[in-house]
């Protein structure tokens, strides 16, 4: 793309994206009314990623950028992926160790006041 054009695109895409974001947020908000479980988790993540993708791809114009930028920006976070992956194991390892040696928590949560 050349200097004078820049990231200029038909307004329509923005409107669509905009509406889409509202709808999707509506959905992810709705997941709060589902009962817990794999399905809910799936939806939470699913809508999260779709929304995130939309913002990055359309609003941040990533979709129109060249592949080289896409890779340069989306590549490095893989490292974070590894960190997340391993830290889940670490978290559970710690928790198990605690349950085994220090026993269940004795904390009684209070009712959440409504106002």
């Amino acid at each position: 793309m050349a200097a004078d054009e820049g990231q200029q695109h038909p307004l329509k895409v923005y409107w669509i994206m905009w509406v889409a974001l509202f709808v999707l947020s509506g959905f992810s908000y709705a997941t709060d009314f589902m009962e817990d479980g794999a399905l809910r988790t799936f939806f939470i993540l699913f809508f999260m990623f779709v929304k995130a993708g939309g913002i990055v791809w359309i609003f941040m114009h990533m979709g129109w950028e060249r592949l080289s930028l896409k890779l340069a920006i989306l590549g490095p976070p893989i490292a974070i992926g590894v960190l997340i992956w391993l830290m889940t194991y670490e978290g559970f390892y710690v928790e198990e160790s605690r349950l085994e040696h220090y026993g269940e928590s004795t904390f009684e949560p209070q009712e959440v006041p409504h106002h």
Partner: protein, 458 residues
């Protein structure tokens, strides 16, 4: 030319140093032979590389040194060579890694039948816990830790009652039996390490970690804390005694259980008064101490410390060094306290004595002294009233001449070097940073300037 020579000499020198060096791994005392083997393998592979690459470099430096007429070869790349080297390196790496992973797999899964011992670390000493008859540990909780319950045991947990509690940095384990050390820390990170066993592991507060081994040698091995845990880090020592099964069981049988500890009756001051008569003759009827008789003030000293020191004399941890003439006088005296109970009674009686500030006998430069005291304050507290959790006794408003003599004893090794006097050993390490007599005087003078805080309700 000289450079090439130096490089070659360095390579040869390193090898010679390695071969001749008396400094190498301590004699193995556990089943972890495989660790040493892995080290050797790695040593050979890397040693080979070290020699080869450096000699080649030396050769280049010599052969291709600058010459007027010479001209370097223009050779940007040589894929064949590069892939060969890459391949070889990969092989070398694999050769080192593979055995390592196998040994680790072995380390990770603990044998089912392993005896379990819990090593508890805290600033700056070790204590231990055995599961007792039922083979089950009672649940613990850091928030429950108090002076009467140093292990944070749960009083309502039946599994805990028969747990054997060893409030002492020395632990015993049977030889040729797999032993799993469960590691727990009360405060900060520590690390349970025994050089001869080859394995070590950090203690992490808020969770339990572990290591396992099978001792193969009878003997007594130093336990070192190898994770920085504050100013006392280097003084945090302990010992593992490896002995035959029956000796081990005999020893274990003598150790108190949680049930014993929690039901232990408090000392009876009235009863103690009678026994104190003996002590009184030197230490004074009110425990105020008598310099002439070299008997320090006892009144106001915390009971746990008094009890500890009386036992130290009884068990030969103190008063046995030939230069410890005054300490020697204590030995027959404490012999008169036959039973644990009698000790408790005397100590209880001492607690009832009026606590007057003794007259100062030592002058010194207070600024200097304050500077020196910074180190002491870490354990004895800013007010010098002592910190039980750190086994640091009260030093404020106690006999200053005695304080000075003990510091000197620690420095000279008259006190604190008995292999079982772990807390004394800490002082022998710490006291040495006082260089000369003046330093000691300044310090003691400063301590004289400290005053006992007014009693607070609670």
């Amino acid at each position: 030319m000289p450079f090439a020579v130096v490089l070659i000499l360095l390579v040869i020198g390193s090898i010679v140093f390695h071969v001749l060096s008396p400094w190498t791994f301590t004699e193995l005392a556990s089943n972890w032979k495989m660790v040493d083997v892995t080290v050797d393998i790695t040593l050979y592979v890397t040693g080979l590389v070290f020699v080869a690459v450096n000699l080649f470099m030396a050769y280049c430096v010599y052969k291709f040194r600058y010459r007027e007429d010479a001209r370097a070869k223009y050779e940007p790349e040589n894929h064949k060579l590069e892939s060969w080297l890459t391949g070889l390196t990969t092989v070398g790496v694999a050769a080192m890694l593979t055995p390592g992973l196998f040994v680790w797999a072995n380390f990770v899964d603990v044998p089912e039948e392993a005896h379990v011992v819990e090593a508890v670390g805290q600033q700056w000493h070790w204590t231990y816990r055995y599961p007792g008859e039922d083979g089950k540990f009672g649940e613990v909780d850091a928030e429950r830790i108090t002076h009467d319950n140093p292990f944070g045991m749960d009083p309502d947990d039946p599994n805990g009652l028969d747990d054997v509690l060893v409030y002492n940095p020395e632990v015993h384990i049977p030889i040729n039996e797999p032993v799993k050390f469960l590691l727990r820390s009360k405060d900060v990170l520590h690390d349970f390490a025994v050089a001869e066993f080859r394995v070590k592991m950090d203690l992490v507060p808020g969770m339990n970690t572990f290591l396992w081994l099978q001792p193969t040698k009878i003997g007594r091995f130093d336990v070192l804390c190898e994770e920085l845990c504050g100013v006392g880090h280097h003084t945090m020592r302990g010992a593992v005694v490896v002995e035959e099964m029956e000796d081990f069981e005999a020893w274990l049988a003598q150790q108190p259980t949680w049930a014993d500890m929690s039901t232990k009756a408090a000392g009876d001051a009235a009863a103690g008064q009678a026994q104190y008569a003996v002590c009184g003759s030197c230490h004074g009827q009110n425990g105020e101490g008598m310099e002439l008789l070299n008997a320090p003030k006892l009144a106001g000293q915390s009971e746990w410390y008094l009890r500890g020191q009386i036992n130290a004399y009884k068990n030969g941890l103190r008063g046995t060094h030939e230069d410890d003439t005054f300490g020697a006088q204590m030995v027959p005296m404490v012999a008169t306290l036959a039973s644990e109970a009698s000790i408790d009674n005397v100590v209880a009686y001492i607690q009832t004595m009026p606590d007057e500030k003794p007259a100062a006998t030592i002058e010194g430069d207070l600024e200097e002294g304050e500077e020196h005291y910074r180190t002491c304050a870490y354990c004895h507290g800013d007010d010098g009233m002592g910190v039980q959790a750190l086994n640091a006794p009260r030093i404020t408003e106690m006999s200053d001449w005695y304080l000075k003599r003990q510091i000197e004893n620690f420095q000279k090794g008259v006190r604190g070097l008995h292999p079982q006097d772990f807390y004394g050993f800490q002082m022998s390490l710490m006291s040495k940073s006082l260089q000369d007599d003046d330093a000691v005087n300044d310090l003691v003078a400063y301590i004289n300037s400290l005053t006992k805080p007014l009693p607070t309700e609670d």
